[in-house]
């Protein structure tokens, strides 16, 4: 494929590049910016500044074409600005003509509807929002010009003068960022109830299944599988509440700040008009940031969001790890859980089924944690009046939101919902635990407990069998003492202890 490396910017190279890209003959037009003139294909709606950025920043495989939700949010912000600039014209000292404003709004609506797919080739690596803001300004400018005159160009609608009126990339991009975060958090919040409900259903389904709890992977004391699942439910619910709590913080915009927060370059009347329009266009009740300088300098809110996503990913990852371990087998493992098969597990070992879905979750978790690291380090990137203008950290967060939102229903439906429990194995582990001697020690002294545990361990029998055979525990106590259901319930265990202690007193 012909490349568009910075060294190759003559007409022939550009023509070769786009002929290959579009697989047909192309016609060129000439555009000019502050650095000079360049030719570009007449059919592209983006312009010279976008063309300049091609090849300049082409160091990752991702462009804004891969993130239509971001392009949409910027177009919505531009539309709100065009409406506010039209309103500003009513003051009689500036603003935007009604026909130009209307053409810009139509162009924005078309972008929002996805009509200009492929026109946003700016690489994600670009450090700040200027490149993508100019990309939108050019596409909207050319389209609006076309609507008004029948041809692309800047004679009626100029990308900077008109489309970017009262705006700077520094207020546009953070505002669009917030809109994207607000919506993506919403999508994640929509996905979470299914996970929580599916987990809760399993908690109920397994509420009577007694299993052996483990600490440090060593046998501990009995609990129910339902109790274990209730821990998962709790962390998911807590993360959901945290997300709900932080979401409104993203219903704020930076419009009116322009380049550094002072609002230099604003049309009179723009600021009062723009937020109602922005709320209308986005359907989100948007308010200006309380302090624009704060908004320009600081990225603490995205860092907190990233931390919450990491927490959720860690909770999911813990569950996935547990599933992998508890489903180990089918012959030589823990064998407590059976996961549904999603696909054959091996190219060489027939019949092998692997825990693919938990593996997938673990890798999503790792990616979210890595993106969190990027969000943290990017905060070092800002100087004085503009904070970490890093698109890369922002896109990392968007990616985290997207992959969590996608993996949750996959995991819920293809793994969690179909998890089965091997109740006999679970009960057997619980019955045979030598840690059941814990209560014997509490009731009859540590020495008796130790003796029971040692005999049970050495002879491969249960504590109950050992205690009865050696007559270390009265027969009437043993049945109650080793009742597994009782031992998984704090209150029932308390009551049982009271009964047994009373009996012990009576015997004395």
């Amino acid at each position: 494929m012909p490349s568009l490396e910075p060294s190759k910017r003559n007409k022939d190279d550009v023509v070769a590049f786009f002929t290959h890209l579009y697989c047909r003959e192309i016609f060129m037009r000439i555009e000019k910016d502050a650095l000079g003139t360049l030719e570009l294909p007449d059919e592209t709606y983006y312009g010279i500044q976008t063309l300049r950025s091609l090849g300049n920043f082409d160091i990752t495989m991702r462009t804004f074409n891969d993130f239509p939700q971001v392009v949409r949010a910027i177009a919505e912000v531009k539309k709100a600005c065009a409406l506010a600039n039209r309103d500003a014209a009513a003051t009689g000292v500036g603003g935007l003509d009604a026909d130009v404003s209307e053409a810009i709004c139509t162009a924005c609506d078309e972008i929002i509807a996805g009509k200009f797919e492929g026109q946003f080739p700016v690489n994600l690596s670009r450090g700040s929002g200027t490149s993508i803001n100019m990309n939108l300004n050019e596409v909207i400018g050319n389209r609006a010009n076309e609507i008004l005159t029948g041809h692309k160009g800047m004679d009626k609608v100029h990308p900077n003068t008109h489309v970017n009126m009262s705006q700077s990339s520094n207020d546009i991009f953070p505002t669009a960022e917030h809109i994207v975060f607000y919506r993506e958090i919403g999508a994640l919040l929509d996905a979470l109830p299914e996970l929580i409900e599916t987990t809760r259903a399993k908690q109920q389904e397994f509420s009577k299944v007694v299993r052996l709890g483990r600490t440090a992977l060593q046998d501990a004391v009995p609990m129910t599988m339902g109790q274990m699942f209730s821990g998962y439910v709790a962390v998911f619910e807590r993360c959901k509440a945290r997300l709900e709590h932080i979401r409104p913080e993203f219903a704020t915009g930076m419009l009116g700040a322009t380049a550094i927060g002072t609002g230099m370059g604003l049309q009179p009347g723009f600021f009062d008009a723009v937020y109602p329009h922005l709320s209308n266009v986005t359907g989100i009740e948007m308010k200006p940031e309380e302090n624009f300088f704060d908004g320009m300098q600081n990225v603490d809110t995205p860092i907190i969001l990233s931390a919450i996503l990491k927490t959720l990913a860690a909770g999911l990852g813990k569950m996935a790890q547990d599933f992998r371990l508890l489903s180990s087998g089918p012959r030589a493992g823990f064998r407590e859980l059976v996961l549904p098969a999603t696909q054959p597990g091996s190219s060489i070992m027939p019949g092998k089924i692997n825990p693919f879905m938990p593996d997938l979750v673990l890798q999503v978790m790792q990616q979210v944690a890595a993106n969190d690291w990027a969000a943290t380090t990017s905060s070092m990137n800002g100087e004085t009046d503009i904070a970490a203008s890093g698109v890369m950290h922002f896109m990392g967060l968007v990616e985290s939101l997207m992959i969590l939102t996608a993996v949750i229903p996959q995991f819920s439906r293809k793994c969690l919902a179909g998890v089965k429990v091997n109740a006999e194995v679970c009960r057997d582990y619980a019955e045979r635990s030598t840690s059941l001697a814990t209560l014997i020690a509490t009731l009859y002294g540590y020495e008796v407990g130790r003796q029971v545990a040692t005999i049970a361990y050495e002879e491969g029998i249960t504590c109950k069998e050992a205690a009865l055979r050696e007559k270390l525990v009265p027969e009437e106590d043993a049945e109650e003492l080793f009742d597994l259901e009782t031992l998984t319930d704090l209150r029932a265990t308390e009551a049982m202890m009271l009964r047994l202690l009373k009996r012990k007193e009576n015997r004395a």
């Binding site: 160091i59 054959p344 060489i348 890595a370 996959q410």
Partner: protein, 479 residues
């Protein structure tokens, strides 16, 4: 969906309907639908897919050598592999990068190659002549194929980084030479220190880049260990007699370089330390490049209200609202790249902590992080060199005179005449806004000749010339 209709394929979990014109089969389709959480697939990593083609070809040749695989089938498999290597079936690897590596990717390669080989032999896709598992995957497991594929791509991709390093190194070397006589202010903790030449600063960066390059060249040599013959867990179960003796030679032939079978295959299947270490080398380089970017940004700050020592070439207008503003966009990008590389390293380290017993970690973060870092460095350093460093020019008004104004210039005076004298000069210079030289002359602390010698900026950046001063003034030295 294809307009040509669909075909029915099956695996051990049942049958599936897939488009007629694709070469992958049931397992790929199943994995693609189950594990689809993001819009990045292995189609976007052609060199990694090609590495699988190379392995499958080497295995088919080795299996033919030992008589385990019918020559006609082996030949058809080799042709199919060559097509995979050439990128012909890139679209047939629609597996999400998360959890797509390992068995799903190996099975996709097996299915694509088998269908194509079957087509070569019979005129139609299918498994009647060439079976993905029985024939294409003969003597292999995903668990030995996957680390071997990583070995192949790591070597190749590091080559891309090294090519770009050459360009970057040459740019720095040229600038170190060009700026060797440009004296400017040296700074520590962002406070004025003593003079340095711009060439010396570039020379420091150059040495760092050369050291990192040498390390990467050394590290790259280690990526020649094949795990083939290990099969599922290192014991070689399922390997035909003779395969282990042939495969390294055949793989070397296909890859065009010497590859040996790893000494301990159990280690090879379990451990991710090599990848962590290799990425650490790239991270060290990325941090170094990012540091250069950060310093260029500081040096070029201005044009009116900053350090203003150098001018970077303009790449694009810097602002949508402030006309005429030009930003240091490429250094900015490289700072971002630096941080992304560190984040990739965090992901790789986290992934490397997983996996248990006979099998190492899943590949998603390892593969994604590695390729991303390589792109950021290989493409980034080239752009950084050609579009930024090569075009750097000096702003003389930000260099020489500013360096001469440093109140720290009396360092050399205090070395010869004692700290007290040096401090007095510095204080007068600071308080009255004059240079140290002016202060020293006015207060008659130095003679004109001494002042000319001791405040000569070029001398003060040159270790040898400063030693000469010590010798010249050894008799007046009073400390």
């Amino acid at each position: 969906m294809s307009s040509k209709g669909t075909r029915i394929v099956s695996d051990s979990l049942g049958t599936m309907e897939i488009p007629e014109d694709v070469y992958y089969g049931a397992q790929t389709a199943r994995a693609a639908s189950c594990l689809d959480v993001y819009n990045i697939t292995y189609t976007q990593y052609p060199s990694y897919v090609a590495a699988h083609g190379k392995i499958k070809k080497a295995c088919a040749l080795a299996n033919k050598d030992i008589g385990a695989l019918d020559p006609a089938k082996a030949d058809a498999i080799c042709i199919a592999c060559d097509e995979v290597i050439a990128g012909k079936f890139a679209a047939d690897f629609p597996l999400c990068v998360f959890r797509g590596a390992g068995t799903p990717l190996n099975m996709a390669a097996n299915e694509v190659i088998a269908n194509r080989a079957n087509e070569i032999l019979t005129g139609h896709k299918g498994q009647d002549q060439v079976h993905p598992n029985t024939h294409v995957n003969m003597c292999q497991s995903s668990n030995d194929v996957s680390p071997t594929a990583k070995m192949i791509v790591v070597y190749e991709e590091l080559g891309r980084v090294l090519e770009s390093l050459d360009i970057f190194e040459a740019s720095l070397a040229a600038k170190a030479e060009e700026f060797k006589d440009v004296v400017k202010m040296g700074r520590t903790c962002l406070q004025d220190a003593i003079p340095v030449t711009l060439g010396q600063e570039f020379g420091g960066w150059l040495a760092m880049i050369r050291r990192n390059k040498a390390r990467i060249i050394e590290e790259r040599k280690r990526w020649n260990k094949s795990q083939l013959g290990a099969t599922a867990i290192g014991t070689g179960m399922g390997c035909m007699p003779g395969f282990r003796d042939r495969i390294a030679a055949r793989l070397s032939e296909v890859c065009g370089r010497e590859i040996v079978t790893d000494d301990n295959l159990f280690d090879g299947l379990q451990s991710a330390d090599a990848l962590v270490l290799m990425h650490a080398h790239l991270q060290a380089l990325g941090i170094g490049v990012g540091r250069i970017a950060h310093e260029l940004k500081l040096m070029t700050s201005g044009p009116r209200a900053g350090f203003g020592e150098i001018v970077l070439p303009a790449c694009q207008p810097g602002s949508s609202i402030m006309p005429g503003k030009v930003n240091p966009v490429i250094p900015d990008m490289m700072e971002q790249a630096q941080q992304k590389i560190c984040a990739n390293h965090a992901g790789i380290a986290l992934a490397a902590c997983t996996g248990e017993f006979e099998l190492g970690p899943s590949s998603a973060l390892l593969v994604r992080g590695f390729f991303d870092t390589v792109d950021l460095l290989a493409k980034g350093m080239k752009i950084f060199a050609e579009r930024c460093i090569d075009g750097i020019t000096v702003r003389p008004e930000g260099c020489g005179d500013v360096a001469a104004s440093s109140t720290a210039l009396s360092t050399m005076v205090s070395a010869l005449f004692g700290y007290e004298v040096g401090t007095r000069i510095a204080h007068i210079a600071y308080d009255e806004g004059i240079t140290c030289k002016e202060a020293a002359l006015r207060e008659k602390l130095l003679t004109q000749e001494q002042a000319d010698d001791l405040f000569d900026l070029h001398t003060l950046t040159d270790c040898a010339k400063m030693e000469e001063l010590y010798i010249k003034y050894k008799d007046v030295r009073s400390v």
